[in-house]
């Protein structure tokens, strides 16, 4: 049973479409990244999933059920900015959250300590720096030992040490078997902590799957068929090779192919030659993680 299933989810604000038919599944125990530039629909997706935004279409299921307040209490979530009462102290705000989550009030101390706010617990939220507010929001997500954590840009406002701590916290929680859904526009963040990723752009799903497949930085091989060798035949031949993971027609009759790690450009040349297909040129194109992301979101 999937932890979260989104089926054909859409959302429009007035005339603006923020989400177009998004379908994805988050499996138990995964660290699922929602990756996309600002305005790509990540927060809208999570807002709908968490019941604070109304979907224009589509369905959401948590733990195989219709979303309810009761199953939201099994989730610890930070959506966009930390939202607390400014005149209450950190501790009072967490006690309030614990009441709503029906969590043991004693877990407040542990949550505050886990984000390093134990000594500032009696200070009013309004006096906190952005980083401290973010830490308090993270502490709030941990109340009640939730099965799932939903973290929207959790490292916003944190200094490098804070960012490293959050990443380590996410990895520790994932190791405990919790499912984590992490929205970020930071490629590096997703690559470092996530097992799966969905790439969003302008409200549309561009790619989804294991991080290794989607954000693979494997080099691509560029092939230029000989003048008497039709590019379409080369493309067809490449498509059936099990170790060629992707074939695309580029401009100027050039083809590009992504290869499994077990094979190299020489294998491509040999396989094509054995089928009577001759190449006039073959070169390796090195790709950065950023280039892969930009290509997915262009």
């Amino acid at each position: 049973m999937a932890i979260l299933e989104l089926d054909n989810l859409s959302k429009t604000y007035g005339g603006t479409t923020a989400l177009k038919g998004l379908t994805l599944q988050v499996e138990p125990g995964s660290v699922y990244g929602l990756l996309g530039p600002n305005g790509s629909g990540k927060t809208t997706t999570l807002g709908i999933a968490l019941g604070v935004l109304r979907a224009s279409g589509g369905t959401v299921r948590w733990f195989g059920q219709e979303p309810t307040a009761a199953n939201r209490r099994r989730i610890g979530a930070l959506l966009e900015t930390p939202n607390f009462f400014p005149y209450l102290s950190a501790r009072q705000n967490l006690l309030l959250a614990a009441d709503i989550k029906q969590a043991d009030p004693r877990s407040v101390d542990q949550a505050l300590d886990s984000v390093g706010l134990g000594t500032r617990q009696h200070d009013a939220f309004r006096g906190f720096s952005l980083g401290m507010k973010q830490r308090l929001a993270l502490a709030s997500t941990l109340l009640g030992n939730p099965e799932v954590l939903v973290l929207d840009e959790p490292t916003n406002g944190l200094d490098p040490q804070g960012i490293a701590e959050v990443r380590s916290l996410v990895q520790r929680l994932a190791a405990e078997g919790k499912t984590i859904i992490l929205a970020s526009h930071l490629l590096d963040e997703i690559e470092k902590v996530c097992t799966h990723v969905a790439v969003l752009q302008r409200g549309e799903l561009r790619a989804a799957g294991p991080v290794g497949n989607i954000l693979a930085t494997a080099d691509r091989v560029l092939l230029r068929p000989a003048p008497d060798t039709p590019a379409a035949l080369v493309q067809q031949a490449l498509t059936v090779l099990p170790w060629v993971t992707d074939v695309r027609a580029e401009t100027g009759g050039i083809l590009s192919a992504a290869l499994a790690a077990s094979h190299g450009p020489a294998d491509v040349n040999r396989a094509l030659f054995e089928q009577g297909l001759v190449l006039a040129g073959l070169e390796i194109r090195h790709r950065s993680l950023e280039a892969q992301f930009l290509e997915l979101t262009k």
């Binding site: 307040a69 939201r72 607390f84 009462f85 009441d99 709503i100």
Partner: protein, 254 residues
């Protein structure tokens, strides 16, 4: 039911205590000053504080300060939009129904506070200035209950305005404009048989002006409803306003 979370929000909030204090002090001062008013060369003093009529007079006077409680409830609700805490509570596992129940509970607390202040002020002035009539005090107490119903009614209206407008300044303005301008103007354009059913008029009918019977003998019978007639309609308005608040919250993005 989110009663405990509501208390956690309200009790440490300085604005709440300032407005509640202002309500109590203003009522106290107004009622205290009322006894010093001279009419035809005679101080009203003693006659104003005589039980059981004191309760209906107090309820009527207190009704002028009820909007302070309405303003307070508007602040409590619009704060939730401004701080995005309604949103966070839903994320944390509250239902929209529970959010509304929480505010309904807060309005109950405010109405209870209003009634306690009226009782406190009444007993203070009654016992210090007309102690001989204290054995009749219980007879007029239903007026305080009607006042409580009036507070609940106006708070239901305030809650609806707050949910509709979402911003504190604008919501307070709309609330006061409705009570002081819009509905009175509407009443002018409606026949008396109809205007008595408008919400603010219904709520006002719960605490009629003392001496209304005397005025009726001079100016003819008033078409205003008696408190006992107005009560079921007031309850219906309350239910309607809270239901509309719930539906609005449920249908809009938080």
């Amino acid at each position: 039911m989110l009663f405990r979370p509501e208390l956690r929000k309200i009790l440490p909030y300085r604005t709440v205590w300032i407005i509640l204090l202002a309500y109590a002090v203003l009522l106290m001062l107004f009622v205290g000053a009322g006894g010093n008013v001279t009419l035809n060369g005679q101080q009203l003093g003693q006659s104003l504080y005589v039980f059981p009529a004191l309760w209906s007079k107090l309820a009527y006077v207190a009704s002028y300060f009820t909007m302070l409680l309405g303003v307070l409830l508007i602040i409590l609700i619009t704060d939730e939009f401004q701080f995005r805490t309604f949103r966070q509570q839903v994320i944390d596992g509250a239902s929209v129904g529970e959010l509304v129940q929480g505010k309904l509970a807060a309005s109950g607390v405010l109405a209870g506070f209003g009634m306690l202040v009226v009782l406190g002020v009444g007993f203070y002035f009654g016992l210090t200035r007309a102690a001989a009539t204290v054995d009749q005090a219980a007879a007029g107490l239903p007026a305080v209950l009607f006042y409580g119903a009036q507070v609940l009614g106006l708070l239901a209206l305030a809650a609806l305005v707050a949910v509709l407008v979402r911003r504190s300044g604008a919501a307070i303005l709309v609330f006061l404009l409705y009570l002081w301008v819009a509905e009175p103007l509407l009443r002018l354009s409606l026949p008396d048989e109809l205007d008595r059913y408008l919400p603010a008029k219904i709520f006002n009918s719960l605490t009629p002006m003392p001496g209304q019977e005397l005025l009726d003998t001079v100016a003819g019978p008033s078409l205003a409803l008696l408190p006992t007639q107005a009560l079921p309609l007031a309850l219906a308005y309350m239910a309607l306003f809270w239901a509309l608040s719930y539906l609005l919250l449920r249908s809009r993005d938080l």
